[in-house]
Amino acid sequence: MNVTISIDGINIEVTDSTTILEAALQVGIKIPTLCFMKDLHKEGICRICLVEVAGRPALMPSCVLYATEGMKIITDSPVIRRVRKTTLELILSNHVKDCLNCERSTNCELQELANRFGVDSWRFDEQIENRTIDDTSYSIVRDSGKCILCRRCISACSEMQSVNSIGIISRGSHSMVTSGLDSLADSVCVNCGQCAAVCPVNAIYEKDEIGFVEKALSDPDKFVVVQTAPAIRAALGETQGLPPGTCVTGKMVSALKIMGFKAIFDTNFTADLTILEEGTELLQRLEKAIQFKDPSVKLPMFTSCSPGWVKFLEHNYPDYTDNLSTAKSPQQMMGTIIKTYYSEKKGIPPEKIVVVSIMPCTAKKFEARRPEMTSSGFQDVDFVLTTRQLGKMLDKRGVDFINLPDSSFDDPLGRSTGAADIFASSGGVMEAALRTVYELVTGRELPAEKLHVNGLMDIHGIREVSLTFENCLERYTWLNGVTAIVGAASGLGNARKVMEKIISGEKSYHFIEFMACPGGCISGGGQPRLTDDIVRMKRFNAIKKEDEGKKLRKSHENPSVMDLYTAYLGSPCSDKAHHLLHTHYTKRGLL
């Protein structure tokens, strides 16, 4: 139903499901907010967005106040300004105010509001109860002293991701956001970092490994190489003042050269490698199930690129760990290949090599430290930095990013196809796999316009596509007439929905791509803040453009990957490939 309301004297007609905050935006007024986050969190907790409503004695929070006929709203008055300032002063009285030393200084929503509303002195005594810093996790650090109890992180963890690792305990002034009875490291936290990505202050953030990387870079005995994930190129620019959706691949490589990395490799290379390993594994599973009717084969097969998803499955669905592809993620494959193949090829002993990853992801920090990720004989990936952390390093090093010329990745682990670029977006791994598997099996190109499978790649929800194989090559005649049902889901809340449907038997698939973060790696927990749907879509389109702009767009066409097989690994899923590029999982359970 439509209603007419007045905001600061301007009449506007809106539906009765519109909040005053949204209605005000339509007349050009941005009511200040702190706890509110579009599409995620709307609880009216912080009381910054208070407005006056004619006829009501108290101020009302506009983010949860819905329009009713004839409502008269005032969004700015001496009373409102005074109340907002007092509210900020009260929030700040429970906040550790070491802004000068704080990671989020100048990028902090609380600091920005305090400046805006002229908080110039501390009227209330500081009351910080039991400040605890939980740094047990390899990925996420939690500092209760900075927390303003806005609960955005809880919405991200429970509603968006359905992980339910953090929540509020106690009540009133003793309330605290914690991981409950266990530390973060021992909890069901999957390290996806969506909490850190939405925190308005510095109460949840990713582990800092910049110091270790800088130390390695200045150590003459170390050969420091770097790999960058597909999603970095579409987001790093945002840390340097470029608008979302600017692809900065070439500038990024130039910047990393300036910073002193000896070789700059592209995780895209191992994304192509992953497709060959994972695609071959899928065909092996399908052959066993369809041709040999082997009941022990686990289908559907799940992708294993997203370490947040992998740990989520290990905790919540431990009976399904055998459904995960045994192929390592591209990050881990790159680490292994650098410390074996590249090390031998260049004659640099692996103990001298330091592998640094730039990832859009906080869970990659945990993944790199999984005890099984040592198939090179060393920890395959030494340090993992998020996109945000690389941005910080660029600032510190003094790189004039925007004006840098483009450079290319180094050989031999820098070459990639368009299929690898789309790993960054939800549905992309599946599309890349279909491009290769279909062609391997039929000898023909995947019948899809611009090689994009209709309805597969998207930033939202759960998708399902079926593909029928006909006129297959001699080796694959058992696939003739088989319709493969594949799916893609991003955001662990969606992953849980798919899993429940698989368990109940409502749905059956052959192969599903799961990504922990909504929209895939483009909105990973380590990407520049804040990622809303508009930013997500811009990064998504940038990645798609990057793929479409490449001459080679199918993983099996990557000549460097083919060289690697010929010279070193033999064939996909060979014994050597299995030893180096595949892994196993842990049945963790919930407690």
Partner: protein, 178 residues
Amino acid sequence: MHYINPITIAKQCTCQNQTDIEKFEKLGEILSMYKDEPGSLINSLYVAQTIFGYLPDKVIKFVASRLNEPVIKVFGVATFYSYFSRFPRGKYTIKVCLGTACYVRGGKTLLEKVKKELGISIGETTPDGLYTLEIVRCVGACALAPVVVVNNDTHRRVKSNQIPEILQSYISEVSNEN
């Protein structure tokens, strides 16, 4: 599903002398009745606390897994309500009222006296396991202010020099039992 009254269950319970294994068995049996019933978490914790006397971490995890709820949610509820305790409690819980009426009529002095007599602070239990000290904000007996509630007994218009006598009466009760 029919409503299961946790208080009835608790009254039937003779769990104090059971072993931990027996207690978990009993709790598991009751939780299976509550499973899938919306809004049964508080009831479940009530039963669990009746059986165990308090809510140790392993009991919180047990309730979570049996009700298929996240541990953090159960932990959040268990710490939200002052009724629930994560630590063992004394045989007698002394609640000194600090609601407005009791406060202005000397509740604060009574609290100091109890603290001094027992040598414990708010929320703590005496080493002999006899007394736990708590404060409450109004028990709805303002006409009798200031009040001190010990388990189910409400002591009215208490003066601070009566505190030792009140405490002593429960010690006598215990020694009579023995």
